[in-house]
Symmetry: none
């Protein structure tokens, strides 16, 4: 039995332990969310204890996703608030992609979100998750607006579209190990460019087009 987490700091630590365990297990096999049982074991806790910190399994993974999204927004925020640079856009793409590389579970979790995460969350939890996301997005969006001299709200739009492109490409290009071998045949070459390179190019194309257009009303 783990020592009791009495004060709220200890509790936060325990909560973080559980999240870390879940993240670790998910990275080991991203085909499915690990079972609560395994998460508990990986965190050296009993199953019941996990439920003291999270009401449902889905809450765990929503929390993970929220963390990762917050981090991603934070990267973007820092990029654009770091003062004007000559090649701000290139800089943005670079940090953005680097962050995604460092958090390989982000896009995988996100890919499961539709079919899994929203199944078993209370309205309150869902709202809270979406609220945090929206607020972060709006905050960083307005940083973009300022930094790039865009009309209000344009930054949010650019961010959402950039992320959409990212997620969409990732889902096209990230293959489970088992499929890698299968798609090694030359005939499949057209559908398996490298994700990272592809993302960089696609983002550049998108932003070029977006910045060229008259600001959307």
């Amino acid at each position: 039995m783990k020592s009791r987490a009495i004060d709220s700091e200890d509790k936060a630590v325990r909560r973080a332990d559980i999240l870390a365990a879940a993240r670790r297990l998910f990275l080991e096999d991203s085909h499915q969310l690990p079972s609560v049982s395994r998460i508990a074991a990986a965190a050296s806790l009993a199953k019941g204890t996990v439920y003291l910190y999270f009401r449902t399994k889905e809450e765990i993974f929503t929390a993970l996703l929220a963390e990762d999204f917050a981090g991603l927004l934070n990267e973007v925020h820092q990029t654009f608030s770091a003062g004007t640079q000559p090649d701000l856009l290139a800089h943005f793409v670079e940090r953005y992609v680097a962050y995604l590389d460092a958090r390989p579970e982000l896009l995988r979790l996100d890919a499961m979100a539709y079919s899994v995460l929203e199944q078993n969350l209370s309205d309150a939890q869902l709202r809270s998750f979406k609220l945090e996301l929206t607020q972060g997005l709006v905050r960083v969006g307005s940083v973009l607006d300022e930094s790039l001299g865009l009309p209000s709200g344009r930054g949010v739009s650019l961010l959402m579209r950039s992320y959409a492109l990212t997620r969409g490409l990732w889902q096209s290009l990230d293959f489970p190990t088992k499929m890698r071998a299968l798609l090694a045949e030359p005939v499949f070459a057209p559908i398996r460019p490298d994700f990272r390179a592809e993302l960089v190019q696609a983002l550049q194309e998108y932003w070029r087009g977006a910045m060229a257009s008259a600001p959307t009303p």
Copy 2:
């Protein structure tokens, strides 16, 4: 007992019936693939009969997805082979979006593909699915190449990126009914623009940037 499908035409009809039933049920609740039991009932067949036409549940949904993708590629193909038009791009976007509207299950199924479809398919089935997709993509890609005077292979790339943008936006903007009410609060306005309008704009931006750039090597 349904009348027997003896010749191959009848069989094709029966197969299509099953697919139609599966499509219908999936549209009713897109959070999970309907059980084979329910599909059989919806098609007025016995469970075992479904397994005469599809080896696994996943094969059913892969077939559905393949159909939808083929149709989408076909739309694009027709758009670009219909002779030069002054506003070819706008025309493309219009038909493309119209097709997606007519096939609301396409993007939902696609969103489940990563976590579900690839779980229980044989290598051969997977390969066959991907092969059909790739070949269609390459075929239509080259139509684009010709029609727009692009370097070889560029069309495939444009298609993949356009679809990535589509899928990514959809996953951001299509909310399950239950969530609609929740996100009606003004505070969520920034993350819930209309999918269709958003897609049109994003595609326009992307294509403007893509066509402006020097052809990628």
Copy 3:
């Protein structure tokens, strides 16, 4: 479609074809009775056709078993009716074991008989199978009685007990392939003597004891 079996000879041939196919498949994997589907395919017939010759799957395997038993009894019959020999008993054991070797499916089918075969036979079928067996046994038993100068009925008893010993030893000593490797460890040596050698010795011991005893009333 196979040509029609009209006269009763053709039918007998077809019936034998089915039995041969079943036997072949069972020998390939003796863990379970092959499905009717596979038997039909192996006999180049449609599933329904098999049911024109056998009412149930179990009837097929009962027929197989009946054939093998009849053959075994025939061997014994010939052994003991071949005139007195100095070492009649040794001769019997030799031919008996040789027959079992030549019909490896006999003891395997027999081992499944309790749990499988009797599940789904009509009373009439069951009776017919047992009757044929009993009559053969009584017939050969009386040959033994005569040949060895035993009291009436003793031959049947000796045969049943000999076969019991055979079947019991076989079930102890015939291991599925998968188990072979497992039991290769020296610690298991005591439970895996060679079946054939073991059978020969055990039969010799049994018969020595049986012939020594005062005839059982």
Copy 4:
């Protein structure tokens, strides 16, 4: 909900409850292993609970068989270690047969072992089962060796052959209820002597022959 089995003693009790329920149901219909569902109900437990104590259905029946075998070996052990008696052999047969009578499921389970039990056990489970059996056999075998002054290893052999005879006879002579009526006709008399009496005689004959023979090398 049953009261919780917290300490290991309670758990052993619960495990035993499950085994008892399985045994009871199997005796009611020995043609097939009862489903886990029925076992759980018979033990007044939820299905899932059964799986806390046994990993697979087959493990349940293997445990039952192991128990019964261990008990049988124990009987034999006690018989032969109880000091020299004038009619040691008769005494052995009596206790041996009495034990089998008291455990009617033993031989029935054993008859299913070939076709069923080994289907779904891990190698480790299989090995463990066989190991326990072998060790028990060797242990009791050496008691026989000592008690009867036999060459080392001869006891194991006698035990295996005796059990083979037992199992083989039982499979010939134990008829499912349904078949009893069928075989009541006089014509079947030769194949339906009483199992118990037959076993006693056959064992006596076998042992007489075995003890008469020069010790097998």
